[in-house]
């Protein structure tokens, strides 16, 4: 199997975005409709109170060939959380799927801390208008920190296989100052939980299901699982836990693992592999992959340089 790059397909700076957002189209995630594909992404406004970012969910509808933009959302897709709630300062990303005649949105909510920058948890919101807007089921999360997953539970991906809801997600293992004058950096790993109803989840509680390639300080993010033939494939991104924002040798790359039973995963980043392209929009970084199927083809949405500040691109599996 081999990915063929189709280039950048969406640049957020060329469109009017809702909620006062101007840049960033991060973590694109597809919902396939009859004759178009809706791609949700997280974009950013600036918090007037302190100049920090707030992440909001928006979407773009594209033709089924994934070439033309049909429309970009101009309304609030999901409100940010209330004062003191886990998703008060951003939703990034939101994983969207159809199940039981409804459209479900699993959110990664962000709230700011004092000694470290942020914590996250996973919420559930439901759409009653076919994915145009979402309403959360409660002010709190459906998956949050626990004894062996102490912080930064986020990046959900939910798939229903054999009547069981599976969630792959990330959990923080801890924060660390890698040098005396540096801000604290976090490390996170990919975990797994199951559920009968999509609301009440049972975690594997701290089991790291994907082997490290870069050692203990590897951070793994945004798992996305798709079944191709008889095999399940997981795409995710990984990087060093510090000095990863501007140092291209330590920044995000796309990882891959496969499984026959959704329990044991074999990591194999190179088959199919996706690497940076010199001189292009994804020359320094590859992150936030999302695999989906449309009209018999398997696609991978992903972000390139600067974590998706200038949009996302697409690859197709050959």
């Amino acid at each position: 199997m081999k990915w063929k790059k189709l280039g950048k397909i969406f640049d957020p700076t060329k469109f009017d975005l809702p909620d006062g957002c101007a840049e960033f189209a991060q973590s694109p995630q597809a919902l396939v409709f009859g004759d178009f594909v809706r791609i949700y992404f997280s974009t950013r406004s600036v918090d007037k109170a302190n100049g920090k970012y707030l992440s909001h969910v928006a979407f773009v509808d594209m033709d089924e060939a994934m070439r033309e933009v049909i429309a970009v959302s101009r309304h609030t897709v999901i409100e940010l959380g209330k004062l003191g709630c886990f998703d008060e300062h951003g939703i990034f990303p939101m994983n969207v799927l159809r199940h039981g005649g409804r459209v479900l949105g699993y959110t990664c909510g962000w709230s700011r801390r004092v000694s470290v920058s942020v914590d996250t948890a996973i919420g559930l919101a439901i759409s009653r208008d076919d994915g145009r807007t979402f309403q959360r089921i409660g002010d709190g999360p459906v998956l949050a920190a626990s004894l062996r997953e102490p912080c930064l539970v986020g990046d959900p991906f939910v798939g229903v296989f054999g009547n069981v809801h599976h969630m792959w997600y990330i959990f923080g293992t801890g924060w660390k100052k890698f040098s005396a004058d540096a801000a604290p950096d976090r490390t996170y790993k990919i975990g797994h939980a199951v559920s009968n109803d999509g609301v009440n989840w049972v975690k594997e509680e701290g089991r790291r299901i994907i082997d490290d390639r870069l050692g203990a300080d590897e951070s793994q993010a945004l798992p996305s699982v798709i079944r191709i033939g008889r095999t399940y494939h997981m795409f995710f991104c990984y990087r060093q836990s510090h000095d990863f924002r501007t140092n291209r040798s330590r920044s995000y790359r796309i990882g891959h693992a496969h499984s026959d039973d959704l329990a044991d995963w074999t990591r194999n980043d190179d088959d199919p592999g996706l690497d940076v392209t010199e001189g292009d929009w994804d020359s320094d970084m590859l992150c936030y992959p999302h695999a989906f199927e449309c009209r018999g083809k398997v696609y991978l949405l992903y972000n390139g340089n600067e974590f998706g500040r200038y949009g996302f691109g697409l690859a197709v599996l050959e």
């Binding site: 914590d119 089921i137 999360p141 100052k177």
Partner: protein, 320 residues
């Protein structure tokens, strides 16, 4: 109405020397009975930092079993360490509730972190002791009771009990942050969870105690005691705003239940109110009821939510 005879303040943290982490406050007393003494856990604070911010530790005093108003010893160090950078209990371990389980002592405690838009958040941690409750080891770096859709923040004030082969955890769950006089004040309600092992919990997911003084009444310290065929809960409650003085401050409430799930509130029975003068003249809060040698006692806090220590009262008669 129950009749409590106040025995006065028992422990004053300002009187303790040589412990930099124990300068003020002795909050949320909780007893563990030994042959010759009662170990009363509490939460305390060193001096505030340059920004006026506190951290909190938990520790204990041993009081004489024959006369529990007499302090025999004060713990040499806190029973729990603060959490590491970014962990849920980085800035405080308050309060703590303990219970024996075989040869070990179990502790459930509130872990405090600091937030940007609101001052703090709380989650409940779990730790065990193999040395008769002198030191505790945390079961993990994260909390034992997770936030859920209906309990979004401030899971705190745990009280652990064991009835009929089941562990019960009473605690408070934040409902909203209410802006009062330009600052967010937390509103929280009494909740409950049960567990076969004390680690995997099933939440009741509802408020156990109806609010009485206002919709946004805050409730805390749900202390459940079994006596004469029924469960008795003493707790405390306050108004949502301007609660740091006598007018709107904490008072002690009461509810009872036959089955641990349906509770009937009747504060008029609680029987312990503020004094006209002295250390508990503005507020009474954080009750803990325990039986000792055929007598029933209540440990509780007075003014400024225990800044100057805790006291004891003894029941005259029984709880029915």
């Amino acid at each position: 109405m129950f009749k409590w005879k106040k025995l006065g303040k028992v422990f004053t943290p300002q009187d303790v020397a040589g412990r930099s982490w124990l300068k003020e406050f002795a909050q949320a007393p909780c007893g563990l009975i030994f042959d010759r003494f009662v170990r009363i856990y509490f939460s305390c604070r060193p001096r505030a930092d340059d920004n006026g911010q506190y951290v909190s530790y938990s520790a204990y005093v041993d009081v004489d079993r024959a006369d529990p108003t007499k302090v025999l010893d004060v713990s040499a160090r806190p029973i729990l360490e603060l959490g590491a950078l970014g962990e849920f209990d980085e800035f405080g371990t308050y309060p703590v509730s303990v219970a024996r389980s075989g040869s070990e002592v179990r502790a459930y405690y509130g872990g405090w972190t600091r937030c940007e838009s609101v001052p703090f958040n709380v989650a409940i941690g779990f730790a065990t002791s193999q040395d008769e409750g002198r030191t505790f080891t945390k079961a993990g770096k994260g909390p034992v009771l997770p936030y859920t859709p209906d309990e979004p923040f401030i899971l705190g004030g745990p009280k652990i009990r064991f009835f009929d082969d089941t562990w019960y955890l009473w605690y408070i769950a934040g409902r909203k942050w209410k802006p009062v006089d330009g600052r967010p004040e937390p509103v929280y309600k009494i909740r409950m969870a049960s567990s076969p092992d004390g680690i995997h919990w099933s939440k009741a997911n509802r408020d156990l105690i109806e609010s009485r003084i206002e919709e946004d009444e805050a409730q805390a310290s749900p202390d459940v005691f079994y006596c004469n065929g029924r469960y008795h809960m003493f707790f405390c409650y306050r108004y949502s705003g301007r609660y740091r003085g006598r007018e709107n401050g904490y008072r002690i409430g009461y509810a009872s239940s036959e089955d641990l799930t349906r509770w009937v509130r009747d504060d008029s029975k609680a029987g312990l109110d503020v004094s006209d003068a002295g250390w508990d003249s503005e507020m009474v809060s954080y009750p803990h009821v325990f039986a000792l040698d055929e007598r029933i006692y209540m440990a509780y806090l007075g003014n400024q939510v225990g800044k100057h220590g805790f006291g004891l009262a003894r029941l005259e008669g029984t709880l029915t």
